[in-house]
Amino acid sequence: MRTSSIIKFLESVEVFSSFNPNELKYLAIHAQSSQYDFGTAILKAGDPGQGLCLVKSGKVRLFTESEGKEKSFGIRGPGDTFNEISALKETLTEYSVRSSAKTEILFFSREVIMDLLNRNETARHFMTRYVALKVTGGFVTHFFNLRSKVSRTEIQSIIEELGVRRVQAGQEILSQDSAEDRSLYIVRHGEINIVREEEGTTYPLKVLGSGEIFGEKACLKYSVQQASAIAKTDAVLMVVPQKTVHFIIKNNPDIRNVLEDRIAFTEKEIERHRKLAEGRKKGFLFDTRSKSKSGEQIIKRFPFVEQAEQTDCGAACLAMICKHYDIPMTLGKLREMANVTTDGATMDSLARVGESLGFVTKGVKCTYNTLLGFDLPFIAHWEGYHYIVVYGVSKNHVWVADPAVGFKKMSLSAFEKGWTGNCLLFSATDKLAEIAVEQSPWLRFAGYLRPFKKVLLDLFFAALIIQILGLAPPLIIQNILDRVVVHQSPDLLNVMILGLAITMIFSHLTGFLSVYLSNFMIRKLDFNMISHFYKYVLSLPISFFAKRKTGDIIARFHENNTIRRFMTEGSISTVLNTLMIFTYFTVMFIYNVKLTLILLAFVPPIVLLTLAATPKYKDYARRTFYAGADAESMLVETLGSAEIVKGMGVERAMRLKWEKKYSKTLDLRYRAEMFTALVGIFSGVFKAGTHLTLLWVGTRMVLTQELSIGQLMAFNALIGSVMAPIMGMVGIWDELQEALVSMERLGDVLELEPEQKPENISSRVILPDLKGDIRFEDVYFRYGDKTTPYILKNINLEIKAGSTVAVVGRSGSGKSTFANLLMGFYKPADGKIHVDDYDINMLDMEYYRRQIGYVMQTNSLFSGTVSENIAIGDQNPDPRRITEVAKLADAHGFISNLPLGYEQMVGERGTGLSGGQIQRICIARALYHNPGLLIFDEATSALDSESENHIQMSMREILRKRTAVIIAHRLSTIMNADRILVLYKGTIVEQGTHQELFEKGGMYFQLIQKQMGGIEN
């Protein structure tokens, strides 16, 4: 009964129209029916599709979801199908499906359908066509938003025209300046690089992913291609012929705007790249001839990149280093990153690029001898204006790759003539650590050891030699006793003593060597680990610093040492100890089986005792850490705000508070020590017991002449030696626990996402010169998750480049948060912020922020001179510029009156300077780099009115040719702004010029009134 009704239904359905009644019956029998209420999920995008779905009654909606927003693909009613493609092959579902009414769905598994299709060629043909039509049709309709704009037959004819093209990675799809192919391409799967070549330089414009289009300009404007399209991965493309595109545009004119926007975007990108990049790109060459002989260190097959012009040498050097480390980075991109200053790369900018590529870089000035110990390759500064890469050194020669010339082997004297003594070192540890982020913390830290494989091996051999030499004394003692004493042979004694002396000297020499090696390695490891950690911490978003206590972060720096200790000493000694235990026991078994077995019987209790104590150890370690970090935080805080503490006369109270925390730490440490001592007593007793028992049994054996006296002495000495590795192994267990705790603690920092991930570097947009065109679109922001209130709501606003915008509002209205968002410190919870037409999230934050002059209400200076503070970050400060900006900020007067003027040392918080003076230095500091965007967050709040007047006068000069966002209380500061925004509880309630708002008599008027009246509340 049920089957017959289904058959009846199936007969009316288009998809099955080519099946005969028998086949329909087969389908009906195998159909799985399910019922859905309104608003129930049927399929989720990304799930594997198992077969064809047919709507029997009701209706369903197809949609995709991204960032919590749904995009509907339309409704399917009775007789319609969905997930058609999975009837033919296994694919992931492209859209989600949900019932939009009470619905019955018939499901036909792929097996059932394929079974029929394999027997019915016509049906197979029909079905394939049907599926293709549905899939492409659905995509095209949705993509060009044609639903209800064109008829079904028109869609059909569009689809007939479409082509599908499969391309392999590396294949060129469109070539720049050609006009052969004017089709529009849509990426269905895979990735496509859009690149443009200009005067021999190729630069990447964009990487396109699924759903993006290219070829739009040639298609729309009948022009040549703007850029070439090359498949980055294997990809599937949909080709829409030009004719069809124009037909589509006729039906949906919005598409033209979309295409034109894209054309404009590409043109802008080309312009930006033109600005950033000049010169040509050359292919790589390898040095295949140089081989290292003894005393020479040369990198084999070092790559060479030629510079295009003089200012390019820095970037070319970086390109060689990238190539050497297999970092995929184009010369163009490197140039764009390194040549941010107009006169080419500086040592500083190269170092910075190195850092963002994931190296730990170190600039050093040194002599040739020191240079011999450096990691190869490194960049050397040449004749004051050029950079070269050194990839091989020996006592008398240097192998360099000069971007202007090529590979060169130079004599020491020739090298020293050109070399300025400056070089930039690269260590690659960071890159390894970065890959290891998803891996276990062990691998992450093991990455640091990798460059020291050889040293570790040397260390291991040294230790092995020492241990083997350690076997000699017991043997010699046995011989002295058994032969010399018993046989009265002084000659033999001399030989024995000489032998003993030689082994001892050897053992000490090897000992010294291993200390030397391990110190050398530890120095480098510590530097790499700590500096990487430092870099990592600073790369974390500002919210990290807002949440963590300083002391807490500092405490984590120390944790690196624990891990390093475990890795170096631990790794070697574990291997060694295992080895030694086996050798010693073998030797002992040879001496005497019975005694050895007795010794073995004592080992498990000692091991068990230690293992049993471990959890407690670990617990103590953890608690001591947190207590210590707490005390340290308190200390840092107190010292940091010493004037508040003293000013309020709460020294005693603060000290008591700290003492309480500190004594808690000490108490914990004391208890931990006591516990260790207690465990020590037990294991000591066990050990003593072992010795006594063995001595007793051994001596009895000597008496029964089972053992010679010499053998007993030797055995006793061996016990001493074997206990050390056994205890060492057990000790490793403790250290492991400690290291685990340390890893845990470091892990909770290292697992945080840095503000900008190094792997995204190639997709980040670097703005060569920030204009300050800012646009907020429906921006909502809150500091926490859903439960916290919005601080900014529905901010829509456009700030034109070069204009001055003032933000006013009562405290708590979100003004500073607004500045924080503008700085890119936080991301909006909803909505978008665009800077110079780029989404702020796409920008490279470091470059972006460096072009912003940001002055806060509370500012601090760094230890150093006044001029160092003003020109902070600049390696070659320009005294003229310093004076110039100091004058603008009205700081020149008081700085000149300081005893040492601009060379006066100032402290952490500007010791000896008033709040207003510090603020003025900070304004000068913000102006020094000639920022494109200026953000003053109550920047003049600490100034007296005279100084404020002075700044007001130079304000016109300060604000010239740059965008400024000024958050202020004082009327005088905001009156001249091009536009004033009035914030109230996170919403812009009024905006306009001073005149307009004043006349309106609203909130702004009232705020001004209040200020002029000088009455609060």
């Binding site: 859903k786 919005y790 709501k793 109230y984 509880k985 008599g1001 609203g1002 009232q1006 009134q1009 209040k1010």
Partner: protein
Amino acid sequence: MSTLLKIDEEAISADQFIKFLKFSNEFSELMKKLIRNKVTVHAAKKRGITVSTEEVQQMADDFRRCIGLHRAKETHEWIERIGITPEDFETFITEHVFKKKMIDTLTTEEAVAAYFNLNAPRFDTADIKHIVVEGREKAMEFIALLDEEPENFDEFAREYSLDDETKNTGGYIPEVRRGILPDEVEAKVFNASADDILGPFQVGEEELYEIIRVTAIHPARLDKSAREKISEAIYDEWLNERLKEHSVRF
């Protein structure tokens, strides 16, 4: 201690009554009221506000009329009945006049207008309609349907909304003030334009979701109710400042 009340032979003293108030948590409320009155009068006197006999008389008459004592005799009886002296009554009324005059000087037309200007958005109201349904998928589907045909909102509310109070009126909730909706919803509603459909917002911890259609946003107007609220707010803010000047312990 004086007896306030007698139930049969059991005498309830004032002391016992106070304890009772404390137990039932009403003590501090009443006490606060008393403190506020006293502090206000104190400040009024300090500011040099004077009270004339006529004003006291007027206030006393108003008060009597208010509680339904029309004749002098009734008043005397009332005073006797509740166990106070005429002097007590006069003091009470005088203080009341002081308070009223103090409040009047604080909440002048200008002060109210200024306060309103500074805080206008706080008095915005919104008219909204909402549908409450169970399950996020369901809510999303309603939103998808409403995106296509917004005019169906009322019908959906009537048929599917789980909010029994409003479903019959198409989910209509007029004059929603700020501070009533959850923060997330409020932020979105008051920044939306008329006819925007918002949501779904999760209601509490349950699997209930709310879809909101904003029908109108009424920018604040300085009307009678706004005036009253502002006067209250100004007085409260002022009083909190004054309270800091005194040491109050209880």
